[in-house]
């Protein structure tokens, strides 16, 4: 399949933030059957992240607040550069992911990361897990989302960018329209949904950060609704992300209007063969139901 001029052997993309912290882990996910892999988001400077607990399975999904642990853009660019060629030889494009606190910082980080020539740069304007609200305001307001998109696009030249949107906004279609008008080549929809899990015996939130991002099964209906709204509003490729654990989940994302599908929490639920399993299940579903290509089902549930 094709995404922003890139060829992917399947539509499954490793979501940013999961396993993408080293060259060896990215290679492992690629060997495990991913169509493309996204490195963990990096920002202007190194961040240690939040203290433990940083993740919990609460029965219907995961809640995490790792806290954007990353080595900073300067070190990340070396990681990406060292990994890109090898992954390319495996036919698996490498996506970078960036975050920052201001429009100028976004442009600066994007410029540094562009030096590694990733196949695509995901612009994370929506991470819910940092106390000083890195990102959240960008994804919440069309004008600021657009301003960041424009600044990043200017800084990265020919490299396609996918802007990662937040699910907790009143009108995600408007945000999508704004970032596409500002130059986004694709949209990743969606980031995790802010939430809280309280342990009643402890009488306090489980995560040290108190709140975190909901992923896994609980996020899927929210993500599907967001993807559908974006698909109705704009005409760029959508990487549908949120709670995809099975081939049927992935098919639902495509039927909502996505062309590629992000996979993350599935590693916890289905083990390290998650990508292979989901890809096989997608194929089986398509054969059983008489579909030959993804484009036949793209947006089918909305027509």
């Amino acid at each position: 399949m094709e995404l922003c001029g890139l060829t992917l052997k399947n539509p499954l993309v490793l979501a940013s933030g999961v396993m993408g912290t080293s060259a060896t882990l990215l290679r492992r996910v690629a060997l495990g059957g991913a169509g493309a892999v996204t490195a963990k988001s990096c920002g202007p400077v190194a961040r240690a992240g939040h203290p433990n607990p940083v993740m919990v399975d609460w029965g219907h999904g995961l809640l995490n607040a790792i806290g954007l642990t990353n080595p900073g853009a300067e070190e990340e660019v070396d990681l990406l550069a060292a990994t890109r060629e090898e992954l390319a030889q495996m036919g698996v494009p490498l996506f970078a992911s960036i975050f920052a606190g201001t429009e100028e910082e976004f442009a600066q980080v994007a410029g540094v990361i562009a030096g590694a020539k990733p196949a695509l740069i995901e612009v994370n304007i929506s991470c819910p897990n940092v106390r000083d609200d890195f990102g959240t305001p960008f994804a919440a307001i069309p004008e600021t989302a657009a301003a960041v998109t424009q600044a990043v696009k200017r800084a990265v030249g020919e490299i396609p960018i996918a802007v990662k949107l937040a699910p907790n906004v009143p009108d995600i279609g408007r945000i999508a329209a704004a970032v596409v008008a500002a130059g986004a080549d694709a949209i990743t929809a969606v980031n995790t949904m802010p939430g809280m899990v309280i342990d009643p015996e402890a009488a306090q939130p489980v995560l040290s950060n108190k709140t975190g991002g909901i992923s896994g099964p609980a996020l899927k209906p929210i993500a599907l609704r967001c993807v559908a709204e974006i698909a109705k509003t704009v005409d760029v490729p959508i990487i549908g992300t949120g709670g995809v654990l099975t081939g049927r989940d992935a098919i639902e994302m495509v039927m909502a209007g996505a062309i590629a599908v992000g996979v993350g929490s599935a590693f916890w639920y289905r083990g390290e063969n998650a990508f292979e399993l989901i890809a096989e299940e997608m194929k089986a579903f398509m054969m059983d139901n008489g579909y030959a290509t993804l484009s036949e089902i793209k947006g089918k549930a909305l027509r």
Binding site: V18, T21, L25, V54, G59, E201, F267
Partner: protein, 249 residues
């Protein structure tokens, strides 16, 4: 595998193993393999990974090394600890003649393995090493299970003087060992991985790494292949391990 959130265990009793180490026994059992780990959480203090030292009842061996372990040391009988797990993959009893090698505090999960192995009537040699006599832990517990126990200390203050690998190599050279299982510092494990290869003995080595999510997602606990060339690239202590099970070369 227990997936959802934390379970409460209450402290039943605590006994000192040395000046800085407590054996904590809780009020109920945990179903686990020897070598699996739990994430222990004390609300308001933090969360850390611990090897399961005993299953029936659930027990942990805790060395007072930082704020979290210090807080565990302050627990009184009846106090609660929040436990997520068991997580990861543990040791398996394979063969009739097991050599267990514990470096310092690494002896804790091996005691649970020794218990399993003795239940299956396997012969067990426990080789325990530390810098000084003070760091040798659980020797009597291994002996009480019917294990043959060898001590090595770097300063010669107990058992033989020298690195533990010296005793391990002598035992491997007898050609009688069916399985080498070990837990301890990474330098010791690297050396043992080399010895296991050299003597064509299957090994199960429990690696440690900085754990964050403990669920195989965040990537923090990747164990570098440089420590043991047999480790697959991108090997995660929490998800693939902590025990790496290597058939003989």
């Amino acid at each position: 595998m227990i997936r959802e959130g934390f379970r409460n265990f209450r402290l039943a009793s605590a006994r000192w193993l040395n000046d800085s180490t407590l054996w904590l026994t809780f009020d109920s059992d945990i179903e686990a393999e020897p070598g699996q780990f739990v994430m222990a959480w004390l609300p308001g203090v933090g969360e850390k990974p611990f090897s399961i030292a005993g299953m029936a009842p659930f027990s942990l061996m805790v060395v007072d090394v930082g704020p979290f372990s210090h807080a565990l040391h302050q627990l009184q009988p009846g106090d609660k600890v929040w436990i997520k797990g068991p997580l990861g993959h543990g040791f398996q009893v394979e063969g009739d003649n097991l050599l267990l090698v514990g470096g310092g505090y690494g002896s804790a999960p091996l005691l649970a393995l020794a218990h399993d192995a003795r239940t299956k009537s396997a012969k067990v040699t426990a080789c325990l090493g530390a810098r000084t006599a003070e760091g040798l832990l659980l020797g009597k517990d291994f002996a009480d299970l019917g294990c043959q126990v060898e001590f090595m200390t770097e300063d010669g203050s107990a058992g033989r003087q020298g690195l533990i690998t010296l005793a391990v190599e002598e035992i491997l050279a007898t050609g009688e060992v069916d399985l080498l299982a070990a837990c301890g510092p990474t330098g010791m494990l690297s050396a043992l991985a080399g010895l296991a290869r050299q003597y064509h003995v299957p090994s199960q080595l429990s690696w440690e790494a900085q754990m964050r999510c403990g669920m195989g997602l965040c990537g923090s606990c990747e164990v570098p292949q440089s420590l043991d060339p047999a480790l697959p690239p991108g090997w995660l202590a929490c998800f693939d391990g902590p025990v790496f099970n290597k058939d003989k070369d």
